[in-house]
Subunit: 452 residues, 2 copies
Amino acid sequence: MSVKTADVIVIGGSAAGVTAAITVRRHYPGKSVLLVRKEKQVMIPCGIPYICGTVGSPDKNLIPDAVLEKEQVELLVSEVTAIDRERKRLITASGEVAYDRLIVATGSHPVIPPIPGAAMDGVFTILKDVDYLRRMQECLKTAIDVVVVGGGFIGIEFADEIRKTGGKTITIVEIAPHCLSLSYDEEFCVEAEQVLQANGIRILTATKVAGFTGNDRVTGVKLSSGGTIKADAVILGTGSKANAELGKAAGLRIGATGAINVDRTMRTSDKHIFACGDCAEKISFFGGGPSTLKLASIATLEARIAGANLFGITRENPGTVGVWSTALGDFALGTAGLTETMAKALGYDAVSAAVEGPNRHPAGMPGGAKTKVKLVFESNSGVLLGGQVRGNGVAGEIINAVSACVQRRMTAEDIAMFQMGTHPALTASPIAYPLVNAAELAIKEIRKRARP
Amino acid sequence: MSVKTADVIVIGGSAAGVTAAITVRRHYPGKSVLLVRKEKQVMIPCGIPYICGTVGSPDKNLIPDAVLEKEQVELLVSEVTAIDRERKRLITASGEVAYDRLIVATGSHPVIPPIPGAAMDGVFTILKDVDYLRRMQECLKTAIDVVVVGGGFIGIEFADEIRKTGGKTITIVEIAPHCLSLSYDEEFCVEAEQVLQANGIRILTATKVAGFTGNDRVTGVKLSSGGTIKADAVILGTGSKANAELGKAAGLRIGATGAINVDRTMRTSDKHIFACGDCAEKISFFGGGPSTLKLASIATLEARIAGANLFGITRENPGTVGVWSTALGDFALGTAGLTETMAKALGYDAVSAAVEGPNRHPAGMPGGAKTKVKLVFESNSGVLLGGQVRGNGVAGEIINAVSACVQRRMTAEDIAMFQMGTHPALTASPIAYPLVNAAELAIKEIRKRARP
């Protein structure tokens, strides 16, 4: 009996899976690649909040299969029920398939907090499933009182997008003292909260959800502070957990965070099986401890490592820097590496400096916005630990320049010597370029500390 | 007789001078700093083209003196007529001033090409002088036929800004086969030309100006190709030359390019005198040969080196990378380091790769534009030599991420492992992030070459 065979099989069709497949084709053009996924259509994960408002529908937020066709990656839509490592075969709903190398990119699923009533109708998680999200969108169309549980970036983006549909009362309930506090220092969190509030969104911080009221259908959210707020739709933006079950069932080693354990080459405990993306365990760029960050950009980095290493190791994972941005209309925030709060919590002797100014010169040039850049350095070595940017749309690429500096462990001195391009219509003035000026201010502060 | 004295004197009040003065105050807070300049008001140099259209007037394009006041830099508006190095004094129109350390930041002046008639009324250079530019603007108000000589970035920006005032026939005359060809590979130059042409600007490339017609006032431009085009205003955007006279007269060593010679610490041949900006000689980041690039961003880098080194060397100039961008409305171009053409001309075995895609994901997110990124690598080491970006306004910061990679001599492998932040409303998808994908394509190409 002939069995379907591919040199390389990738399980999973989201950011990690697609990138892994493309990377294999680029690095090993002679190898055949089969991508197996269970979803007929795959959502762009980061675009999900935008289906509610700006994009308008899940169908307009799909990863196109054309990228696979272009790179000659074969596609099989079928659920993998088991990995037979002994025989190097996958057991799928549509039969067995044999591999030489396997990449597991099975992603993650939303964490449903153990809140009484969370299973009621009208309470939604952020499931990356087209049909589920269509149902969510249907419910949101008629909902008047919407509660978003969790003020992380997914939560605030959902809240602001739902707001755009109009006529609703929207409340974010966040357990921490501020929204976004896992990724931004307090001053940036406060600014984001002010934008949300100015948009008419109510924010309850330092507040736990004690339960949901209603019979079959949610009608309200009980708060730990006492009292209940009305709700005919609830979105749970409360984090996600690795889909490690398939790997675990196959006997792959599972790490401390519950994800599939991998080494720096992205290889699992089976030398023919690699894992990448949300299902794979991550270590931090800073000190190498475990990281629970899950971002599509991390997933694609890991996929480029896994895909390149399949038949000979050429890449090692330096660890997760953690670079991402978020936007509320024209207000954008970016973060790379450690915040000052995180750096201090990890034991670094951190020094920070922030500058703020127009991102045009002269300031009257159109399209500009005041831009704030904060850089955090280790005070003894002067090495950059992280940066945060607040501005308009350009913040998303400024943070990538910061990220390059973090990745190469540039010091405040290196950044003070940064050769940046500037232009009246596009950037801050060369006299006031924020990265450079923040570095100079940090140097001044570091010297002050060094003098007794 | 008491003579005015400062620990540090800076001559020049533009990008280099202001930045040098601020840098001294930051690095040596105990030292007094006096900035001497001859202009009552200082133009933002890169903003000059925009006074014609977007900004509207030279008075709205000034470097504010507040930055000097804030850093406690004293200001003296007076022309320096000589440097008495023996007595460490400046001779100025308003008396002598004594220095301990001197920074010369006297800038540059426009090159007037030896074209018959260039001194006629109606022919303007790009003099950084408020009154002169006001006269130019007055002339442009009534001019109908405007000719811009030189299709570099200053030339094309002027042409497009004058176009915005309406009702004119505008022609760019460029000696090279393409506009912008000193800084961009041909495919990018062609795109910029198409934008200008779509805006109604006529471009004559591979064309020399043979002379200007008219009596006292210009009436036409004679072309080397034969024929004369009508002109009642001409702008010469034909490069600039270092203001080295003051330094030369004081006996400072002058370099091969006619600028004031400096070492990598920005020190001149007099150990108490430093120079920076357009008046100082530059060397290239690539091979260390002479560079004639003059940009405000280079000037400020050199100023940060000079200012920090005055009383003890802490910084060395790695050489000029050459990073800058230009914009024609929503169309923006950025360049960092070497183009493919330049790299090959310098003898590098260059490999390039370009990718193009939307800078949003899904592509339907608003505010997006197709963005093209081209990276140029040295094929043996894989080291990044340069990059070019074409897109909308975000291109100005993407090129700064590229610049960071060039400065740290990152390889194609390093960039393939770049940890970028992505967001639907702000950037390309993590699967298609252009820097990373261009690096992956270059790696593929480099490997192909390595295999015989």
